[in-house]
Amino acid sequence: MAAAVAAFDADAVTGGNDAHDELTLEIAPAKIASICGFLKYDQGFVRLSTVTAVDRYPAEPRFEVVYHLHSIQRNERVRLKCRVRGEDPVIESVTSVWRSANWYEREVFDLFGIRFTNHPDLRRIMLPDDWEGHPLRKDYPVTGSRV
């Protein structure tokens, strides 16, 4: 798997591991859409299981955008991870590869404030449109009221 991705685009994979028998590939953020396209159409990963993010505040690059892919045919899963910087976080959308990414990415945009370029409908999904801040960021308080 990892070798196939490296053969497709040697610059795209920046790291990876298979701890707990789960394959993780770290992908250069600029390459994510093309790698996803390759994995879907060439490697049989027809399903995008989920997209989420992890905030590593205050480390830089601050955000990890995490994709879980599933191949029914091969009965395999793979995790892709892109590191995105904290100031004006932005990454390319994978909605052109899987339509299901639409809501998954909207959720990440809503709760983490990571923008996805070429997304057809990038609006908040869980919170009201006029909400301030992004709750799943580590510098967003768990409790407290606005003054």
Binding site: A19, H20, E22, T24, V46, R47, L48, S49, T50, T52, V54, D55, V66, H68, I72, N75, R77, R79, W98, R99, S100, N102, W103, Y104, E107, L111, R124, I125, M126, L127, P128, P135, L136, Y140, V142
Partner: protein
């Protein structure tokens, strides 16, 4: 408070714009967020041409609770109680997914009895969830009495849960390392009494519905969506199986010793509301088979893992042994540390693929817990499914998806 103060009850300027742009023949109808057939708070923006649906945009988030944020300030074991409240119709499936994920990070070995008990109770949860689905779905479509029959059996299941955990719905019975309590005395007779009659009860529901002309008229050929569309839109579970894809995590990547059980994965090919009904009814029969096997073959032995730094000691030991007392104090006050790492544990919930992505930074609280909930993925296909159909069929179609809004919005 007037109607216009409630969120979602009036159209926003952008939505009014959509209405104006859609031309004189069509109108935009706001279905929900308090529509009874949405079983929760789902809002559908329907653009109609007469009685035909031109477009459908689901609007979710009314039940967003911020549970994923809440996880980050709770000890791992406390997190179990949060999972119940996500998919409140299948609390034990949620418990199981979370516990398995954390146990994988900890590298814990779970004893046989706990595993089989987990299988048995998770399958009872599947029955519970499917019964609520069948009852309410039939009621939406116009068959009131099915609801009463389904809830009669559901009551029995809830009483079994109460017997095990002391709670009917928010059970939190699975804990990291095994079960919360020793299985109660007499559970075997209680479960046996229920599961022996249950298949005949499924026959009763089928008598009421399967050959019922009104039921067939309202469900056959309705809500059809292609398998390719569903895979692309993130749909999982019974809906995929009703479109002919034999996919079930219990078979494909067995967890909690599901590989030791003998059961079928039912499929249909029509991919309509009726096929989804048939798949779920057959799943109930298969779940009953699994419960019977688990009950008959239940291994003896411990019901929690041998890991004193994770699992609370027995009450008796805690009061008589110094070491047990120390462990008890430490687990209760500061929790237990989980090695750094990340896992994605997928299980088959009654609604489809349920994934727990747990990231640990080596402390006693999770760094990040993400739940990939089946309802969220499934609901994305609503638009594709109902566009071009009659407005009356919208209710049958969304009913056949079996979503739970707590599971969608988290």
């Amino acid at each position: 408070m007037s109607d216009s103060d409630l969120p979602g009850t009036v159209l926003t300027p952008a939505e009014e714009g959509a209405q104006a742009a859609s031309g004189p023949r069509s109108m935009v109808l706001n279905m929900g967020p308090q529509h009874p057939s949405t079983h929760g708070v789902l809002r559908l923006l329907l653009e109609l041409d007469g009685e035909m649906v031109v477009s459908c945009r689901p609007d979710i988030g009314y039940l967003h609770t911020g549970i994923e944020k809440e996880f980050e300030v709770k000890h791992y074991q406390q997190g179990v109680t949060l999972t119940d409240r996500v998919d409140y119709l299948a609390p034990l499936s949620m418990n199981l997914g979370y516990c398995l994920a954390v146990e994988k990070l900890l590298g814990l070995e779970i004893p046989g009895q706990a595993q089989w008990m987990r299988v048995m109770l998770t399958e009872l949860t599947r029955l519970n969830s499917h019964l609520v689905w069948l009852g309410t779905h039939a009621m939406d479509v116009g068959a009131m009495s099915v609801f009463l029959y389904c809830f009669r059996e559901r009551e029995d299941i809830l009483r079994i849960f109460e017997m095990f955990s002391g709670q009917r719905m928010m059970t939190s019975y699975f804990r990291i390392g095994g079960l919360a309590l020793e299985p109660p005395r007499g559970w075997h007779q209680r479960v046996k009494k229920f599961i022996d009659v249950f298949p005949s009860r499924v026959d009763e529901y089928e008598d009421l519905l399967t050959n019922n002309r009104i039921w067939i008229g309202r469900t056959r050929g309705i809500g059809v969506i292609s398998l390719e569309d569903m895979l692309d839109l993130g749909v999982t579970g019974p809906m995929l199986r009703a479109a002919g894809l034999k996919i079930d995590t219990r078979k494909d990547a067995p967890y909690t010793s599901y590989e030791k059980f003998d059961f079928e994965v039912p499929t249909r090919t029509e991919s309509d509301v009726f096929a989804r009904y048939q798949v779920r009814v057959e799943e109930m029969r298969q779940s009953a088979r699994i419960v019977t096997q688990a009950m008959e073959g239940m291994p003896a032995g411990p019901w929690k893992a041998d890991a004193p730094h994770v699992v609370l000691p027995d009450r008796e030991k805690m009061k008589t042994q110094m070491e047990a007392l120390i462990y008890h104090f430490k687990i209760v006050t500061e929790g237990f540390r989980v090695p750094e790492g990340e896992v994605y544990q997928v299980i088959e919930s009654p609604r489809g693929e349920l994934g727990f992505y747990v990231v640990s930074d080596g402390t006693a609280k999770p760094y990040r817990v993400h739940m990939r909930t089946p309802s969220f993925g499934n609901l994305q296909a609503t638009g594709r499914m109902v566009e071009g159909s009659l407005i009356a069929d919208v209710i049958a179609s969304i009913g056949s998806m079996d979503f739970v809004l707590g599971d969608t919005d988290r």
